[in-house]
Every structure is written in C-alpha cells, then in structure tokens.
C-alpha cells in the first residue's frame, strides 16, 4: 500500500500527522475558526490564481466564487478534484493550472 515512489512526501506527512499535538491543534482550531480576513481580499496587490476543488467539504464552490468576486482581476480555476488538498489528490491538474497561470 501507499505511494512508494513518493516516500519523501509521505514521511513528511507522517511526521505532520504525528505532530498533531493537542496544543498545536488548539491553536490551529482557534486560527481556523475565529479569524475572518474577508476584508483583506480586496487589498491583494499581486496577480491571483484561485484553485478551487469541485468537491471540498471545507471550502465548497461558493467560497472560490466569493474570493474570485472580491479580488479584482483574479483568475478562478475549478479543479476536478475531491478534498481540501488538490496538490495531493490531483497533482497533475493542479500543476497544469499553476503552469498555465505563470
């Protein structure tokens, strides 16, 4: 099982999951649940590419659309991917979208 050809990434991920220290998890939860940076979106000065997964429980399609509306001149790409980490679940389309943008 597992992706033997990607063991380096795997080790890193193993370490990061194992590092789910309760204090860190608490901090992560506080930041994730209590911060609201919607007002900052309009101030984005760089060129922006928004990568949106088609099926993401945490950030559904409406989230990508909202960010796209809020940042003028931004580009929205909806990836045919599931979950919150398209770099892992669908690396090829993710890389292709980034390359096309750059």
């Amino acid at each position: 099982m597992g992706n033997a050809d990607r063991s380096e990434l795997g080790d890193e991920l193993t370490a990061s999951v194992c590092r789910t220290d309760p204090q860190i998890a608490k901090h992560f939860a506080r930041v994730t649940f209590l911060s609201d940076h919607r007002a900052d979106l309009a101030t984005a000065a760089a060129r922006v590419l928004i990568l949106q997964c088609r099926d993401d429980v945490i950030a559904p399609l409406s989230v990508g659309a909202y960010v796209h509306d809020a940042i003028q001149g931004s580009e929205l790409v909806v990836l045919d991917a599931t979950g919150h980490c398209p770099n892992l679940s669908a690396p090829e389309p993710t890389i292709a979208a980034i390359k096309a943008f750059l």
């Binding site: 099982m1 597992g2 992706n3 990434l9 991920l13 945490i58 979950g83 919150h84 980490c85």
Partner: protein
Amino acid sequence: MNWDAGHIDFEALFEIAPCGYLLTDKNGRISRANKTFANWIGRPGHELLGLRFSDLLPIAGKMFYETHLAPYLHMQGSFIEVALDLKGGGGAKIPMLVNAIEQRSEGGIPFICFTLFMAAQRRAYELGLLEERDEANAIIAAEREEAELREQFIAVLGHDLRNPLASLASGLHLLSEENLSERGRKVLGLMDGSIVRATGLIDNVLDFARGRLGGGITLERDASEPLEPVLQQVVSELQTIAPARSVDVSYDLDVPISCDRVRIGQLLSNLLGNALTHGARDKPVRVRAATNDGQLKIVVANGGVPIPPEAMEHLFEPFFRANGHPSGKGLGLGLHIACEIAQAHGGTLEVHSDEVETVFTFTMPLDGTQELTA
C-alpha cells in the same frame, strides 16, 4: 448462519462483526455500512449510503479529516488508531477509534475500508486523566505562588528585624562601657552572643529568600584588604556564644585573596556555629585557613558523634536537619547558604565525618584575582 469449520458465512460475519465497517469510494463516499456500525451510530444503513465519511463528523473532526487524515490516507494508504467523534442519529457525539485502508488493487476499482471501534469508556478515562493532570498543575501553580509569597514575607521580615537588632547591639555596646557588676558583665556577654546568633540566622534567611526569589548570592569580590581579620572577628563573636569551648585556630594566608570577605566570614560563621552546636563539648573545634597551591582552604573540624550516612546526601539542602539529632537548633539553612557561597566563589564545600571527627572543607581557586584585574 452456519459456523462449521468448512463454511464460514463471511457476508454475515461482515454484518455482525464486533466492529463497525464502512466501505467508501476513493473520495470517501459511503457505498456500504455494516449493521454493527449502523446500530452504534443509531442511523439506518441505507441513510448512510452516498454520504461522505467526513459528513459523519462534527465540524472540528471534519476539518481534521479533510486537512490531515484524508491527505495522509491518500499518501500512506492507511491510518490506524485515530480518535474521532462521530455524529450519532440523535445528534450525540459518539467517541470512536478509527482505522482505514485504501485498497488500490491492480485494475480494480479503488476503495477505502474503515473499521470503527467504540471508545466511549477509553475517552472518558483519558478525559479523566487530563482533568486530573490539569487539576494537579493548578494546585502546583497555586502552591508555587503561595511559596513565593511566603518567601517574600520571610525576606521582608528578615530585613525589618535587622534594625531593632542593630539598636540592641549598640545599646549593649554603650552598656558595656558602664561600671557593671560581675554578674552584669556575664549577662551582657550572653546577650551579645544571642545577638550574634540572631544576626547570623537573619543573614541566612535573607540569603535563602533572595536565592529563591531569583536574586541568588551576589558577591563583592575585592583582594585589597586582608581576609584574616574578618575570620578572627567571626571566631571571637562565636566564642562569646560558647565561652567554655576551646577553639584551636590557625591562619596561613600570605597572598591577596579575591573574595567577598563578608560572605567568606558568613561561611565560616555557619560552619563554626554548627561545629560548636553539634560537636562534642569536651573536644576542641579546629579552624584552619590557608592559601596553598593557588587555593584558599578553610577547614572546620569537630569531634563527637559522626553525621549518620543517610543524612550525608541531604546535608546541604535547605531546611535539612539531621533527624533525631539531640540539638535540633536553627533553621537548617546554615550549610545550604555556606555551600551557595562556596559555589558563588567557584569553589566547593566538602564534608567528611567519622568516629574521630567531622570535617567541613571549603576550597576555592585563587585565580579569581586575575578575573578582578582583567
């Protein structure tokens, strides 16, 4: 169901196994749930079909699953013993331990198999342990705070006691110049001794409190004045407390010593005070101070009952007094402070005790002089 050895009904075993089974597609959409799981979670199995695994989790678990577990499962192909709360039919959170394996057989359709175990008792036990740990930590914090207050109180009290004690000492000095009877002189001598002892105790208490409050022992090193008169003064002060005792003193200090003379005097006072208190009354106390081979050595020795071996390792700890010692005088700070003073000078305080005598040896390097001039 048929359970004979030759034929096991795996279909039935899947349904009624003593653990929950969930099968999902590679994206986590549930395609099958066993009866055990449906019973535990309190929802009919058909209601679960088509849901995502993370739909069964409350929001915190959902975040954790999507940001940690799902990527991990994708990368590693499995995870085990992950503690998650699942949303039960009535809205209750059901603590479970979850294992998962992603099946990626050659040519076949990939799927994920979850096994789930009830973990309510285990979770309650863990929470109990955590609560107790937090309680214990809170108690420790409160006690530390209280101890610090107590030490501040000791420091203030010690400091404030010095002034009336100084007044008493100067009063005694004035009185000693009057014409007094023999008896009057004797009483004055005893009172003088008591003041010396009280001053010594206060110095030790203050140093201890300062050490605990983070100040530590501070030194004012200075090699310009001789150490010997300070030591002589200490010996003669303590002799007034125990006039009947014989103290055999010798000095061999022929080079300048960079040290805090008051502190070294305090160290000697603590050691000599102990020797006079604990040593055999009919044997002389020996004091030797000498510079030799680049070192200052001060030795205080007394005869009498040796220090019990079990007391040796605690001797320099604050408030330690040898158990059952007949003369349980003092606070038990003297040796602790003496040791701190020795260490502050880069030196050591060692003890040797046997049937013949008990010897405390303070040794410090003399090269502190160079430090001073540098």
